[in-house]
Each structure stands twice: as structure tokens, then as C-alpha cells.
Symmetry: none
Subunit: 403 residues, 2 copies
């Protein structure tokens, strides 16, 4: 059996048609109480609602039933990569999250400042949750560590968390975490899981030894643990699989980072609001066939449990939507990377509403874009990994399978 990307790639045709994938992070929701509406249903969205008569609606499973996806798996699935098959290591995600431009051979590491007692045992795995300011102070110290043959980047993340990236020849990431996930024991030794990894392990041992010397007089963050040691997974390249000149427009570093990992161009800009992001799309309209447009704040307000503010972001997107419609994309898809119901204040497992507007869509009777209308939509139940193939099909970019 051929793999899915090969099949799609063989059927894909560059017809020059244009696709916009508008992603409202954490779009899906649930009602606050029985008989109520979800955030999307409560929002006043005349433009999206009008699109329902020019498109088809469905609900989409992001990873698998009951799975609440993190941002990494959610976006991998959205781009067509089965997140149960393809994984982005946690170190890489951390580096992407702070906007670090990883190179293919870099080794990225999530680090925690921790507290060691006089015996060298961990007494606090998070170093008393020191402030980000204290974190930055120590990160600046750690940047002083130099080891021959390797370039070392140290970047603050938040509170007790920071990131280390190694750049050089012949590095490997096959090294287990040193965080024992327990207190009262020392950090685990840095060991190489294979002979090829010994060089990298030795670099990290030297780095950690020097780091401990520097941090010794700076309790409570007088040591650190290394976690999620990982490299760019070398994913199949999105623009080539789908035969689309592809660009990402996003405000937050994490989403630019994942787009870059799959090989999209990332357009740099100063946009912040949905309207400003849409303006970036307009400016670059002629340069690309495919635009991934990421709206973050639906998720942020969902996680805050702020139902009304999440509704507000959806309405702001709707209000600006004519800017995208005026570009006359052949296909416009509106969906999320997972649900973030304000009621739960976290990513959830609920299936995500999706709207595919295109001349060739199977139009349905819905008049409002929302979870309930999507559950009965003509698109039916789909899976996130199928969104890109469906985008191509609706853009007449996908030929017949078999004679």
C-alpha cells in the first residue's frame, strides 16, 4: 500500500487556484449550561453564516476520539501529518515556542532550573518557581559557557523554564531526560542511548558541570535538569506534497515555527489583529497559492475561561472576513486545531467545527456556522489529516484516483 502523501502527491495538479486555511485556535466549544450555545454559536457572525450557503459544514476529529491535542499535534494534523505517526520532540516545540529559528541539525532541549540540597539531591524540581526575571538573569550567566566544536544558545522561556540549543557537526538527540520526576534523588546522569550519541552526551556533561558551578551560589535555582532532547524531525515537505506555494501568517512564534518545520514560507509582519493579519495576506496574495492564517486569541480566552472574550475574537474575525473574501480565494476553510471550551479552560477532545467554502462544495441547508449545524452538515465527520486533501479537491487541484 502506498503511503498517503505519495498518493496525494501523485493526484495533485497545480491548477493555479488559491486556498486560504483560516485557523481559529481552539475554535470549538461547549455551551456553559444545558440549552445554551457554544462560543461560535453565540457569536454574531453574519459573514461566516452567509458562507454556509456557499460551502459545506462538518465536524473534524483532530487526533482520535477523546484525545485533547496539544498545539504541536493539532497543527501537524491540520497540515495532514498524522500526529500518532509524526512527532515533534518537546525540546523542538519549546524552541519554536520562543521563536528560535532551529536549523535541521540543531539539538534543542527544554531545561528546568531546580534546587539541589547539600547532598546533591533535588529538593525542588522547579526551583521555587523563580520569576522570569530571575530566569533571565541566570540564562545570561549560562551564556558564558563555551565548549569547543559546538555553538550553544541559551534562551529564557518563562519562570523556571529555559531552552538550550546545540549547533554543530555530528550532534544527536538520542539522550534521555535527566529529570527524575522525583525529589530527594539527584538528577539522572547524562547518558547516550547509542554510540553515535556519545559526543553530544559528553558536550552536555561538560555544559551541565560548568552550569552547576556557575549556579552554585544562586539558590534556589542552583542547578537544572535537561528534558525533551530533540531535533527537527525532518518532516515531509508541505509545499512539495501538495504542490502549493505555501505561506504562513501568524502572530505567535509557535505557529510560525511549526509552519517552518513543514517547509512553508513564514511571512514576517507586525500585524496583531485579525484585520491586520488579513491585510498581510492581501499584500502577498500574488506570491502564493496557499495561505495558512493563524488566529491565536480564541484559544487564549478559552483557556482563561472567558466565554465573552472568545466570542469577541470570533466576531472580530467575522467582521474582517470580507477582506479575505474580496481576494476571491477558490477555497476558504475556517476551522480550529482543537476545541478550547471556556467552560473547561483547557484544550479538549470535542470535535472541531469546519466550514469549506468553494464553488464545488456540496452546499447544505445550514444558515449558521456552529457546532450543532456542523454535526448535521453535508461534509459530515472528517479527520484533520484530511483537511488539506479536501482543500486541494475543492480547489480542483486533485485528479482522479485510478482509471
Amino acid at each position: 500500500m502506498k503511503n498517503k502523501f505519495d498518493l496525494i502527491n501523485e493526484m495533485a495538479v497545480d491548477t493555479g487556484s488559491k486556498i486560504i486555511l483560516l485557523l481559529l485556535d481552539g475554535l470549538g466549544g461547549v455551551p456553559l449550561a444545558p440549552g445554551g450555545k457554544t462560543e461560535l454559536e453565540a457569536a454574531h457572525t453574519p459573514n461566516m453564516d452567509a458562507l454556509t450557503s456557499r460551502g459545506s459544514l462538518g465536524l473534524s476529529e483532530v487526533v482520535a476520539p477523546a484525545f485533547s491535542p496539544g498545539s504541536g499535534p493539532g497543527h501537524l494534523a491540520l497540515f495532514g501529518y498524522d500526529p500518532l505517526e509524526y512527532e515533534i520532540g518537546r525540546g523542538v516545540l519549546e524552541a519554536l515556542g520562543i521563536g528560535f529559528k532551529l536549523q535541521p541539525q540543531d539539538v534543542a532541549i527544554r531545561c528546568n532550573f531546580c534546587t539541589l540540597d547539600a547532598q546533591g539531591n533535588i529538593s525542588d524540581r522547579r526551583a521555587g518557581r523563580i520569576s522570569t526575571e530571575e530566569c533571565i538573569k541566570r540564562v545570561k550567566m549560562l551564556r558564558g559557557i563555551k565548549i569547543p566544536g559546538v555553538e550553544i544558545f541559551v534562551e529564557p522561556v518563562k519562570e523556571y523554564r529555559f531552552a538550550v540549543v546545540l549547533r554543530g557537526e555530528g550532534l544527536s538527540a538520542d539522550i534521555p531526560d535527566t529529570d527524575p520526576q522525583l525529589t530527594g534523588v539527584p538528577p539522572l546522569p547524562i547518558v547516550s542511548a547509542s554510540p553515535e550519541t556519545e559526543k553530544t552526551a559528553e558536550i552536555l556533561r561538560q555544559w551541565w558541570f560548568q552550569a552547576n558551578q556557575m549556579l552554585a551560589d544562586h539558590p534556589p535555582a542552583n542547578s537544572c535538569t535537561l528534558r525533551g532532547i530533540a531535533k527537527d524531525p525532518g518532516l515531509p515537505r508541505f509545499p512539495e506534497i501538495y504542490k502549493l506555494r505555501s505561506a504562513a501568517v501568524a502572530v505567535y512564534p509557535m505557529y510560525k515555527g511549526v509552519a517552518r518545520l513543514v517547509g512553508m514560507d513564514v511571512i514576517e509582519h507586525d500585524a496583531e489583529t485579525p484585520a491586520e493579519e488579513f491585510e498581510v495576506v492581501r499584500e502577498h496574495w500574488d506570491e502564493y497559492d496557499f495561505f495558512f492564517v493563524h488566529i491565536k486569541k480564541t484559544d487564549s480566552y478559552g483557556e482563561d475561561g472567558n466565554f465573552d472574550a472568545k466570542v469577541g475574537v470570533i466576531e472580530a474575525v467575522d467582521q474582517a472576513l470580507p477582506m479575505l473574501l474580496n481576494l476571491n480565494p477558490d477555497v476558504l476553510i475556517i476551522t480550529g486545531d482543537h476545541s478550547t471550551p471556556s467552560l473547561l479552560k483547557r484544550h479538549s477532545w470535542h470535535r472541531v467545527p469546519i466550514l469549506i467554502a468553494a464553488e464545488w462544495a456540496r452546499y447544505g441547508p445550514a444558515t449558521k456556522f456552529g457546532e450543532t449545524s456542523c454535526a448535521a452538515g453535508t461534509l459530515g465527520l472528517i479527520h484533520h489529516v484530511d483537511i488539506m486533501p479536501l482543500a486541494l479537491a475543492h480547489a480542483k487541484r486533485l485528479g482522479k484516483y485510478g482509471a
Copy 2:
């Protein structure tokens, strides 16, 4: 790629929340005539209907489209074990069905009394369908057979069917059926499919030889065939996978047996009616996180073709339902292990209605629990193997997948 149980297990968290899985055997149905209602739709179920505003509805595929599941596969799927991957041998199912408490190393065998002619060929594979009384008489004779090094249990099942269980050291079940599925030929010889099985095969040969001598003068059941020779498949353990202290409340032995095979505690009781079973749940409420409650008679009446009686059982369950609701479970799921439409008088392939009531469910607009409302439900189409993960998710017992 990790297997599903490992993934679920890694994400599972013991939050102390409580789940009831209320199983109406053969719940799904079809209307008796065009324009009609199914059994569930015809039933007066004010309590279940009220739950639709506190939950979400869907239809669930038990094994695969068009598959009419037996009780074994139906319950395996319900507990999260893909019945196409995990199998319970027929000998084991037969033993469970009569309430025999199988031990892990036991070898269980379904046997048929049959008729041999003077040449030793089978003239009737079911021995003229002798009565259960005649079956019991012969089973008592066969209990007289003793073979050194092995304990042998012989139990009547029904009419020409009985079960044999071997208990001892070093037994194996890798032995093909001896029923040739034809008349006019002798029973197949008892052969071992591997050297490790020779000991067991030799025990069965001796047993069968003596059985024939005892039965010779008792036609038409003057011999027997051995089928579905099997051991406990050693399934991954339900309470450990899902991190749930789990109990089964069932009236019929088969369902207690399957629950025991996956590692649930089986609560012994004298309950018969739904209300009495629910009372057992109440009595043991503090001891467990998860209760599997099995209602048999929906299926029995479906198989009898008795539409009204099946409706009556559903109504009795509904009437007693407040007993469960008063326990304030965090999640209450109502579904079936397959459909048993009265019109068909057998298990069928039709998808099964499911209701998941929980504070975090995506409520929909339905006002009645039934197949039609489930087909348009906000839960959508799911699969039985996903019911337990969804139960955990709705009980806030499942963390995020990936960062």
C-alpha cells in the same frame, strides 16, 4: 507508533471522578414498518430524554460496518478492546456463558454430542438435538472419567451442547476442532498443532476414547465432537489501562465472565430487575470509580421478536434511572453492545444509539433519546472502542496529547 492502550494509559489521571456505563444489551432497533419508531423511540423515557439536554448523542459502530457482533466481540469493543485484534476463544465464551470460573491456565472446550453410525461415521452432528435433560444425564456419566495429572470439569450447556474444562500444569489449547462440519465421515482426529501441545492432545484422546465407550450404549448421543479449544486470552487489564477501580453488576453469567476476563471485580448479588441492579451499584458506590451495569432483557425480547416487551424493559430502566442519577456520577453513559431489532429477531449490524451525560459534554438540541436524534447528535459517529476513552475524557480523567 505506540499502541492505543499505552497512549490512553499515559494520558490517564486518577482524579477520583466516577463513571457509570449502563449497557442495555441489544438496545438498538429498527421500526416495524416505514414511518414507525424503533423500540427506544417508542418507549416512554422521560428520564433519559431529560438527560439529552445534559449530554450529547451519537451513533456507535460496534465492530465494523455491516458486522453483527456476538456478545463476546460486542463487550470487548465496549471495554475498548478491538474485537478484530483481540479474540476470546469459543470454548472460553461457552465456559463464561454457563458461569464457570475459568482460571488463567485452564483449557476450555465447546462440545457437541453427536451420533456415530456402525462404521464410526457421523450421521447427526447434533445427536438429534437431544433435550437438555438428556444432555445432563450424559454429562454426569462423563464426569466419571479420570485422567492422571489433570482435573477435568464437564458441564451441560443446552440440548446437545456441553463444555469441558481441563485444569493442570503445562496445558495448551493449540488443537483444531474435531467436528468435520459434515456427516458421513468420522470425527477428525485430535492432533497437536505444535510439540508443546502434545500432552494436552494425548489427554483429550484418552478422554474422548473413554467418553465413546461410556456413550456407546446411549444413542442418539453416542459420541461427541470437540470445538473452539481455547484458553483465557490474557487480555490487558481494564482497571490498570484506565486507572479505574472497576466493578461489574450483571445478572447473566456471560457478562460477568467477560468483565472478569478483562480484570474487573464482579459484584455478586441476587438482583434481577434493573432497579435491583441499580441498588447494588448504590450499595457499592464508594468502593469503585467505574461501574459496568448490564441489562440483559432488551436483547432477549429483541431475539424473541417481542417489540412491546423490549419497549417495556427500556421503560423499566428509565423508571429506575433516578436511582443512578441520585448518586451524582460525573459521567453516565447509556448504550448497547449491538442492536437486536425485534423485527429481525437477532443481533444486527445497525449502529447503536449512545448518550454521554456529563458536565463537560457538548449539549445538543435533541429532546428525545432515540436512533434518529442520535444520528444528528453532537457526539456524531463514534466507535465502541472509543467509548471508554470518551468516558475518561468526559470525567476529566484524560490529560493532553502532546505539548
